[in-house]
Symmetry: C2
Subunit: 616 residues, 2 copies
Amino acid sequence: MFTALDNHIQLSTELLMFDVLLILTILTIWLLRKRQIRCIHETGGAMLYGLILGLILKYTDRQWNKKALDVHGCESLNHTTPSLAANITLDNDRHKHVGEQMAFAPEVFFNVFLPPIIFQGAYSLNQRRLFQNSGSVLTFAFLGTIISCAVIGATMYGFVKLSVLLGQTRDGDFHLTDCLFFGALISATDPVSVLAIFTELRVDSNLYILLFGESVLNDAVAIVLTYAISTYSQSGGHHTFSVSAFFFSIGHFIAVFIGSLSIGLSFSIITALLTKFTRLSEFPLLETGLFFLLSWSAFLSAEACGLTGIVAVLFCGIAQARYTFHNLSTEAKTRTKQLFEFLNFLGENFIFCYMGLALFTFQNHNFKGIFLSGAFLSIFLARACNIYPLTYLLNIGRKEKIPANVQHMMMFSGLRGAVAFALAVRDTCTVARRTILSTTLMLVFFTVWVLGGATSPMLAWLDIRVGVDPDEDKGGQASDQVKSAENNTGEDGTPAHAASAPEGQTQASRTPGVWHKLDKNYLRPALTHSGPPLTSTLPVWCEPLGRLLTSPHAYENRERLNDTEADCSSVKLDTAGEDKGAPEGDAETVTEPAHQDDLLEGDLGLGHCADPNWKE
Amino acid sequence: MFTALDNHIQLSTELLMFDVLLILTILTIWLLRKRQIRCIHETGGAMLYGLILGLILKYTDRQWNKKALDVHGCESLNHTTPSLAANITLDNDRHKHVGEQMAFAPEVFFNVFLPPIIFQGAYSLNQRRLFQNSGSVLTFAFLGTIISCAVIGATMYGFVKLSVLLGQTRDGDFHLTDCLFFGALISATDPVSVLAIFTELRVDSNLYILLFGESVLNDAVAIVLTYAISTYSQSGGHHTFSVSAFFFSIGHFIAVFIGSLSIGLSFSIITALLTKFTRLSEFPLLETGLFFLLSWSAFLSAEACGLTGIVAVLFCGIAQARYTFHNLSTEAKTRTKQLFEFLNFLGENFIFCYMGLALFTFQNHNFKGIFLSGAFLSIFLARACNIYPLTYLLNIGRKEKIPANVQHMMMFSGLRGAVAFALAVRDTCTVARRTILSTTLMLVFFTVWVLGGATSPMLAWLDIRVGVDPDEDKGGQASDQVKSAENNTGEDGTPAHAASAPEGQTQASRTPGVWHKLDKNYLRPALTHSGPPLTSTLPVWCEPLGRLLTSPHAYENRERLNDTEADCSSVKLDTAGEDKGAPEGDAETVTEPAHQDDLLEGDLGLGHCADPNWKE
């Protein structure tokens, strides 16, 4: 009985410590914001407090050294349960030392903290900007991440060989797959710090969406890549190159990615249809609950199928924002936005606190000088190999080129954060994996503190336009924007930024032709209340289905949404009414027919918009 | 690796099952509300789905039977860790059977689901009504719960003796302390179902606050009582009456209660001062985060000190609503309200789902006919011994008596729910405790389905006034109320009800004299921006402290809040502005001096308001 009581007290004390850290972080954030200090970012503050607590625990509580994080790293992948939360194994001899067994199971990051963070990233993406730049964003997220992974992997392998030659590493400790594994996980860039500063400074919105879109999507790619590399090494390719294992892991990568994506989208479709056809909007609490639970289902279903929940939740978030969001009541729009903003805020700060703590409390750190310097070199090299060649290629296809200063800023903005850490902490059984965790931690600290802190001066130095005024745009929807901006009350940045971007510009119609048609004629009418009615767009033999799925509103909206004759001014009111509080301050694709002439069939969404804010 | 993967998949599947249950529950709630069906309550629906899932698991997954809930019941009190969430021990032989080890550690209820539920109960209490009726509510909560515990304990002991005589129970299986333990836990009445119906039907607001206040506060009393009884049995009083153990447990009860209460209030004071003196209100997200984390700190600190977190969080919630709430920005008011409403909604439905599931999946059920019938008899007997004598005594002191039909309704409204279950499931090591869990489950089912379902006809039969119109009150603050009601967008009932109660009546000044003065002259000026300034109310030697704590606003408000000359109409605007979105649609105590003459010194808040809605 007393053991249980003591354990209970200990657990409470540990949670209380994190709680206090988060409270301190909040107060620090407030001070930083009040004094407009931009050289330390909020997440940097959280890490600092974590570090301090870690130091205190290390030097006041010597027993702490005996057992810690590492235990869970191995157990969780080998035989114990991936617990939903604090999975604290107990050592009855020493259970009185506070913090001694404080160790959140690595799975916690994946199952509890990451999903809302990723979802919020996707949910608060500026949809229109994203689809305008979808080609570029996808290129950076997919090709860029794979390039980055390969470059880092190869560089690190070189450094490992060097280390073996110098006798600092035993041959066999590091395989090529370990290096690639590191390359994959460290390629996941974090949207947190840089983008918060971008929001505050109202930086050019195309730069913003390129970086935000890239960092959100490349998390998914990096996660699936690490799985694929694990699969590869397990299927016989650990030491030498195995063709079958290589193709198997490529197949695995594609299958997992597409499978997870499909599950995410399926749950969005279910949510959209449920919110469209039930009158749930009379009860915003139920609506919010349903929205939350169905989005979480996307994560759980993917995990239950052995796929990647994070990827599912990412695409679920994008689709929820694009379709379901417009079926929600005004209040549920605000509620869902605020709920995920809150979960994201707490989760993010918790993870950064925890990273700070982990530096001193993780017992099996393995800091290898050569590996570390190799890692520092390689992430810059990889970022350069990613950004410059890809922008060169993209600029060939883009009407409006990505200028050099924006390229340099993108090169500079590759911060690492929660996802990289979560991937690294998942498995710390071998020397290689422990070295990877230690190196990842150092890279996170460096990029968040140094690169993050230098963002503001860097913007000035690169002469990138800040303080972009949302009223400057030429679309003439200023009133709409003001409404959206008013509703964008969140201050964590992203939604507010989205609203302050030059939203009114009618560039949505420049999104890729095929996708645009599919979205406008079939997906939106099927999943939301907007027109044109499906009965008019679907082939005749689909008539019954069309009638079933078409909302009565769609018939009413038939003319105004018919993309060629619609009158912008007549549309405005409805849009403002319907999309009040839209997370991306969304003025709908279908309501913006004025620039139809700009739409080029087959254009891959390379974002060639004639944005007056871009400097060539 | 594959074991871990399988476990992970299994955990995801289990969570997915709960997730789906909750989604079904939400859709059912929507249907029930839409069709205005009141005979099945929402929580009843959640239980039903849990039952069905339990049945399916029981008969489709036979391995389920081997391991289940019971393991954790004992472990959690004896040697394993009280895990924060799903604490699933694994049996590698049979890890493929879905649901086999599905068992949330009982501690989860206490550490994760209960705190927000209790906090929300306290936070959404109609403060003014509560303080008007504080004497009555406290009498029911404290004396009533102790009477109820004693009556149930004694009755059950009689039935146990009978059972031993009949040879159905072994002598020694049940001690008197077990019976009292059962009496204490089953005395915790649940505010959920009945009050939701009360809200919907807009029942008399005094009946509402009596029942709501009682059910919120008696949870605290019941929890501390169960601890005290456990302490008693551990300190040597297991078999016979031990004077020292008795007094020790009484001392324990008082110490734990007062300690927990103090911690809860301390954290409210910290929150109030932080929100008062920082300009955190510019960042509603930070404000909400701070509010949430500090309230959670109250829980964790109490637990870390070996006290009762639930009690701390209860009083923290009451004080947060009374003080901190008024320092929050308008947006943070809404956000905190909605956040806790959401957590409460999910937590409550989860617990009721889980209870349904537990009926079929808990493996060591011990249904004893005699114990069960004794329990049914005793809860009614105890409720009668609680309500009728206490109302008789209270009516002596109350100006406006509690009429007989209201007494009958109170007698009828003693539903049992989350707290009783959480207390029962915490420890299932002995036969007695297992019997208690099974019996508690049956009582919860019975009271929620039968008593909850019959609430609506019962109200009609007892001729209790429903559809009380908030505009009927005579305080002349209708405009204020409309504003409050508009802001009370929550539909889970309690806040909305609070707003629809005759709030405008200026009865606040009838709260007990000493408390009223303390609150008005010292606490509110110190913790919020309202006047009179502390410098004018504190003794001269406290002047520096007074100056430190007094907000500049308080000086501005000096006249209008000076309680004797204030002009109601001049106050109205400010109140409406400041308290927009107040959880209780609160028109401030201090702004309502008109009925000052009604204030009787030494009055114990027995709620003798001349409410025109009460029928004598």
